[in-house]
Amino acid sequence: MNRGLLFCHARGMAKAGLLLLLAISISSYLVACGGTPASSGPVTLTFWSWVPNLQQAIDLFEKSHPNIKIKWQNVGSGGTEYTKLTTALKAGSGAPDVVQIEYAYLPQYILSGKLVDLSQYGANDVKDQFIPWTWAQVTSGGKVYAIPQDTGPMGLLYREDIFKKYNLPVPTTWDQYAQEAIQLHKANPKIYITDFSPSDGPWFFSLLWQAGSQPFVVNGTTLKIHLDDAAALKVANYWGNLVKSGAVSTAADWNNDWYAALQNGTLATWITAAWAPSDLEGFAPKSAGLWRVAPLPQWTAGEQASANWGGSTDAVTTQCQHPAEAAEFVKWLNTNPEAVKILTQKLYLFPSQKSALQDPSFDTANAFYGGQQVNRIFVESAQEVNTSFQWSPFQDYVFSQLQNQLASAVNGKISFEQAMHNTQNAVVAYARSQGFTVVS
């Protein structure tokens, strides 16, 4: 037995050694040749995306493109994927060919030069098919770094039964929303009008977006940073007062308790985006028929300002050996009518394509929302998204700082206004330490 073990082990070691040698020789070969071996025969592309059930679209693509095979891998959503992506890009190997990235995170990958400029592969040809603000978010200095996949124009989901029961009109302004929050909580202390989650930086940013705040103006490596501009402070103080009044809950979102609260009527509204209605059907099935959709409340009565929360793009990394094929795939996935139909009507992504918004089959009545034509509200919202909003090239850091500060504010350690000032100072210091020029 001992002998057997030894042999087994020796063989394993020899194999490992051989593999090592092989790997070293292959990588040195690649370096010597300068990459990009001529492609002949079918090309295989790995594709990271957390959109469930994407395979049906991929099958369709492979049928019409027999020379390209797509290996779809779900390595986790959002942060989990970015962690892996960042590490792999830094290391120089292990990154996918094509990757799903949210709008907010694109600039940091663009800055590090790890995304392929798709304009060389005819990306500008499809420009006109997309909603203008989405195209603005994927381009930088005339180059196209990704193709918009889906979006999240915002609206207000609300419990019609609760508003009816307590005799409250659906709020159209934030002032009215705040008043009703207090009335509602007074009438029934178990009910909160909504949940202010300090740990959801992207959500808070969408509120800033709607209020007309302009936290970042990026010009190459020169930045303007105004995380505490007048609009941002207005939003922060508004929520600070609501939190202080106790009329909104402050639990973290996206966890079991929060799902339960949305289902059992503890939360009367959800300030959210166009992809949410189908999500809500999923995690609050018992509240079917009780929800409705309204436009986002406004800061000034009569306005129509909206914002975007979430949505993502598909980009090609510089580790890709077949960028032309990869570019073809991301263009196809987001413009081919059949593919777009799958994305929007089977996978419930809210489209970034103009044509899909106008598609009559997109405008159907939804029983979960009492037969309301839910998408109509969001299609209108999509027209009102401020197109000049920009993200920083280190948005991960910004979110984490903001979340730290908002948590302190919610815990009563600092004021909400102070939280914004602190975030501003931390981000400016970070930007300088990273070599950016910060101007005011």
Binding site: N2, R3, L5, L6, C8, H9, G12, A16, L19, L20, L22, A23, I24, I26, S27, W48, W50, V51, P52, N53, Q73, N74, V75, G76, S77, G78, T80, K84, T87, A88, K90, A91, G92, S93, G94, A95, P96, W254, N255, N256, Y259, A260, Q263, S278, D279, L280, E281, G282, F283, P285, K286, L347, Y348
Partner: protein, 312 residues
């Protein structure tokens, strides 16, 4: 608590512990009935404490997603949904769970065998051979336990990526073969279990060191070997951080990373909301092999665990 290296804290001790008669062990008097009753009550309460989360896991694995949120957590729901859940776990996403299960088993078996053999060789050398640099090397090896492995994550990834091992099973197995703690245990064990005169006798007889190790030492070191084997097996089976960092391909995930991935997706996207029951049932399945292993290998983990403490 973070495990130390890939090995959990603690260590084996002597196979030379002994089972003794009831009389010999006591301090003479047996406690009175009240005392015995109180002690028993305490022990039972502690048992409940340690087992309750597992009981919750078992109960929850028999529920539907809805019942999970609407029925009392510590008792069964009216309809028994375990078989359906098991079916879901094994068929979801083309049965990727089976892949994860086999991956975990493969990584754990190969790493455990390799690591304990390597640790035994090294521990034997540290204990029974004298050579220049022995204590320094040993101190360096033990010292590395102090530095948290987050410091290693990125350099290890860079290194693996340089040699093209990222996204291969070897990226998980090779680092798992290094168990400084296993070397420590085997050194302590070898110092106790191997009499010097026995080895010297063999040397005088002209046996090569190699032969002495394989024909004499290894046999006597077997209990220590098995202990390190078990500890490494558990360590690798339960490892999360290393595979999370070094594999990007779900086809190479072990159970822990796969389940965490499901858990995250079940929280974020309604399209995969049935994942709750999958995560819970999958977690149950993932602990069953270890529990069975503990049941059958009691003499090793109980006999072996304190070995490291006999030194000092």
């Amino acid at each position: 608590m973070a495990r130390i290296g890939s090995l959990p804290a603690g260590g084996p001790v002597a196979a030379t512990t002994r089972q003794t008669s009831a009389q010999a062990r006591t301090g003479g008097r047996r406690g009175g009935w009240t005392l015995r009753g109180l002690v028993l009550l305490f022990l039972v309460l502690m048992l409940v404490y340690f087992v309750i989360p597992l009981f919750w896991l078992v109960v929850s694995a028999t529920k539907t997603n809805d019942e999970l949120f609407s029925t009392f957590g510590l008792w069964f729901a009216p309809d028994f949904h375990l078989l359906q859940n098991l079916h879901d776990v094994f068929t979801y996403d083309d049965g990727i769970f089976v892949t994860w299960l086999t991956n975990s088993a493969y990584y754990a078996v190969v790493s455990a065998l390799g690591a304990s053999l390597i640790a035994t060789l090294a521990g034997y050398a540290f204990a029974k051979l004298s050579f220049p640099g022995r204590e320094l090397a040993f101190a360096i090896i033990l010292g590395t336990i102090m530095v948290p492995n987050t410091a290693l994550a990125i350099p290890t990834y860079l290194l693996l990526s340089k040699v093209g091992l990222v996204n291969t099973p070897l990226a998980i197995i090779l680092p798992s073969l290094v168990t400084p703690f296993g070397v420590y245990l085997m050194r302590v064990y070898a110092e106790q279990a191997l009499p010097d005169d026995l080895l010297d006798a063999a040397r005088v007889d002209g046996a090569s060191e190699w032969l002495i190790f394989w024909r004499i030492a290894l046999r006597l070191l077997a209990p220590g070997f098995v202990t390190v084997l078990l500890l490494t097996f558990v360590g690798t089976w339960n490892n999360f951080f290393l595979p999370l960092v070094v594999t990007n391909n779900p086809a190479y995930y072990p159970l822990t990373v796969g389940l965490a991935n499901w858990n995250q997706l079940s929280q974020a996207f309604s399209g995969s909301r049935i994942l709750y029951t999958l995560v819970i049932t999958g977690s149950l399945i993932s602990v069953v092999p270890l529990i069975i292993g503990f049941l059958f290998l009691q003499r090793y983990w109980q006999g072996g665990l304190t070995f490291g403490s006999l030194r000092s």
